[in-house]
C-alpha cells in the first residue's frame, strides 16, 4: 500500500483462545482458530450494561483477528466487524445458529461506524488483517461481507486490488443479516437506510448524561462554594438558599439537553439541535418553575432570570452536543450551527452567572 504500515502489521497472528467468550478452538490450515457462540451470557450483557453507563467503555474490546462462529468451513461467509465488544457480540447474536467466519479489525475498541469515520475501520487495516489472519488459506472463496456503515472507511475497489478479496456491503443493521444472507447477499433498499428510532436514542442517554455531569458538576460546586461564602449567611445555609437554585437550574439544563432532547427529537420544533435543546430547557424550566412557585417568592427577579439563562444555555449546549451521537447530521451543518449558537450560549452563560453573582450582593 502507499502509506507506510505500522510495525507488526500483517504479521501472522491468531486471537487468544483464553478470552472469556471463547468456547473452543477449531483446527484450520493456519492453526487453532477461537470458536464463539451466538448466545450472549450474563457476563456479556453485564458488560454491555456497564459501557452504556460510560464505565470502562474504552477497554471493552476483543482481540483483533479471525474467529469462528459455530463450525464454518472453507466455503463459509467471512463477516468483518470492529473490535468493540458490543459490535462483536451483536454480530454473533444476530447470526446465532449460522456457521461463519468473523474477521475482527483493530479499531481500538470503537464501533464500526465511528471507527470508519476515524479511518481505523479502513482499507489499510482490513487488508493487513486479511494477511495477518492468512484468510486466503482458510477459505477457498474470495468474498468478504463488510457492514455498510464501514464503507465510510473502506474502499471496496482498493481492498480488491490489494488483497484479492471482493467486498460485499451488508445491511446497516445487524438484525437484517440473516435475511440478507438468505437473499444471496442482496439488501432491500430499506435495509440500506440508517434510521434513528426511539430505542436507539434511548440507549444513548446514560452515556450522554454521565458525560454532561462530568462537565457540569465542577461548575455546580463552584457556584455552591461561592454561595456559601457570600450572602451574609452561615456557610451551609448560604449554600442552600443561594446555591441550590442555580445548581438545580444547571441540572435542569443537563436533563433537558441529554434526556428530553434525545427522546423527543422528532417532535421538538426546529432543526438545529441547539434550538431543540434550548426549547426543551425552556419548557422544563417553566414546568419546574410552576411546580416550585411557592419557593421562588423570596428571590429577586434578577436571581430568577439568572436561573432561566443558565438552564437555557446549558440545555442548548448539550442539545447541540447530541449531534455527535445522531445519525443524520453533517459536518458542515454542525459547523454552521455551532458558529451561530456558541456565541449566544457563551454570552447567555456569562450573563446568567453575572446576574446571579449580582443578586448575591443585592438580595
Amino acid at each position: 500500500m502507499a502509506k507506510p504500515v505500522p510495525e507488526g502489521a500483517g504479521v501472522f497472528r491468531l486471537p487468544s483462545a483464553k478470552q472469556s467468550f471463547v468456547l473452543d478452538t477449531l483446527l484450520t490450515p493456519v492453526g487453532a482458530v477461537p470458536v464463539v457462540g451466538g448466545e450472549l451470557v450474563w457476563r456479556d450483557l453485564f458488560g454491555h450494561y456497564r459501557v452504556r453507563w460510560n464505565i470502562g467503555r474504552d477497554r471493552f474490546t476483543v482481540e483483533p483477528g479471525l474467529y469462528a462462529l459455530g463450525a464454518p468451513d472453507n466455503n463459509s461467509h467471512v463477516m468483518v466487524t470492529a473490535n468493540y465488544k458490543m459490535s462483536f457480540d451483536f454480530l454473533r447474536r444476530a447470526l446465532s445458529g449460522s456457521d461463519v467466519w468473523i474477521l475482527v479489525l483493530d479499531t481500538k475498541g470503537v464501533n464500526v461506524w465511528c471507527a470508519a469515520g476515524e479511518g481505523t475501520f479502513g482499507t489499510e487495516e482490513l487488508v493487513d488483517r486479511i494477511q495477518a489472519s492468512r484468510l486466503q488459506e482458510v477459505v477457498s472463496h474470495r468474498r468478504l461481507i463488510v457492514p455498510q456503515l464501514g464503507a465510510t472507511g473502506v474502499a471496496a475497489f482498493e481492498v480488491k486490488k490489494y488483497s484479492g478479496f471482493s467486498v460485499c456491503y451488508g445491511p446497516v443493521m445487524v438484525r437484517d443479516l440473516p435475511s440478507f444472507l438468505e437473499n444471496k447477499c442482496r439488501a432491500t433498499p430499506e435495509m440500506r437506510i440508517k434510521r434513528f428510532p426511539f430505542k436507539e436514542r434511548l440507549v444513548l442517554i446514560p452515556v450522554d448524561s454521565m458525560q454532561a455531569l462530568k462537565q457540569g458538576l465542577p461548575v455546580i460546586f463552584a457556584l455552591l462554594l461561592l454561595a456559601g461564602f457570600t450572602g451574609g449567611l452561615p456557610f451551609l445555609e448560604g449554600m442552600r438558599s443561594y446555591g441550590f437554585p442555580p445548581a438545580f437550574a444547571i441540572l435542569t439544563g443537563i436533563a433537558a439537553g441529554t434526556i428530553v432532547t434525545p427522546l423527543l427529537l422528532p417532535w421538538i420544533p426546529g432543526r438545529a439541535f441547539s434550538f431543540k435543546g434550548g426549547f426543551c430547557g425552556l419548557v422544563l424550566f417553566i414546568l419546574l418553575y410552576i411546580s416550585f412557585s411557592s419557593s421562588t417568592l423570596n428571590y429577586s427577579v434578577l436571581a430568577q432570570f439568572s436561573w432561566l439563562l443558565m438552564t437555557l444555555t446549558v440545555s442548548s449546549w448539550f442539545g447541540m452536543a447530541f449531534t455527535g451521537a445522531s445519525t443524520y447530521t453533517s459536518l458542515n451543518g454542525v459547523r454552521k450551527e455551532m458558529l451561530r449558537a456558541m456565541p449566544v450560549q457563551f454570552a447567555g452563560m456569562l450573563t446568567g452567572i453575572a446576574f446571579w453573582t449580582a443578586s448575591l450582593w443585592m438580595d
Binding site: R192, A321, K336
Partner: protein, 89 residues
Amino acid sequence: MAELRYLEDVVTLEYDQDKCIGCTMCTIVCPHGVFQMEAKKAVIVARNVCMECGACMRNCPTGAIAVEAGEGCVRGIINDFLGIEGPCC
C-alpha cells in the same frame, strides 16, 4: 413518526456525472438514499439528507464524487476552530 431532517443547503457534496461508470456503489453505501440509478448513471435525488459521511466518495472507483467528510461532533469541531489536532469523540 415525524421525519428527522437536519439543516438545508449546508452539504458540500459534489458529483461529476460524466465520470460515472454506473457501478451503483454510491447507491449501495449511502445510508440516506442520496443517490439513485437512472439510465445506467447515478443521480443525486436527495441532496439535503446527505450527512457527509464520505462513504460514496471513498467507494467511487472513478473519483466522481467529492464531499468534505468528517464526523460532525462538537469537540472535534471546537478543536478544529482552535487549530488543535485532537480526538473527536
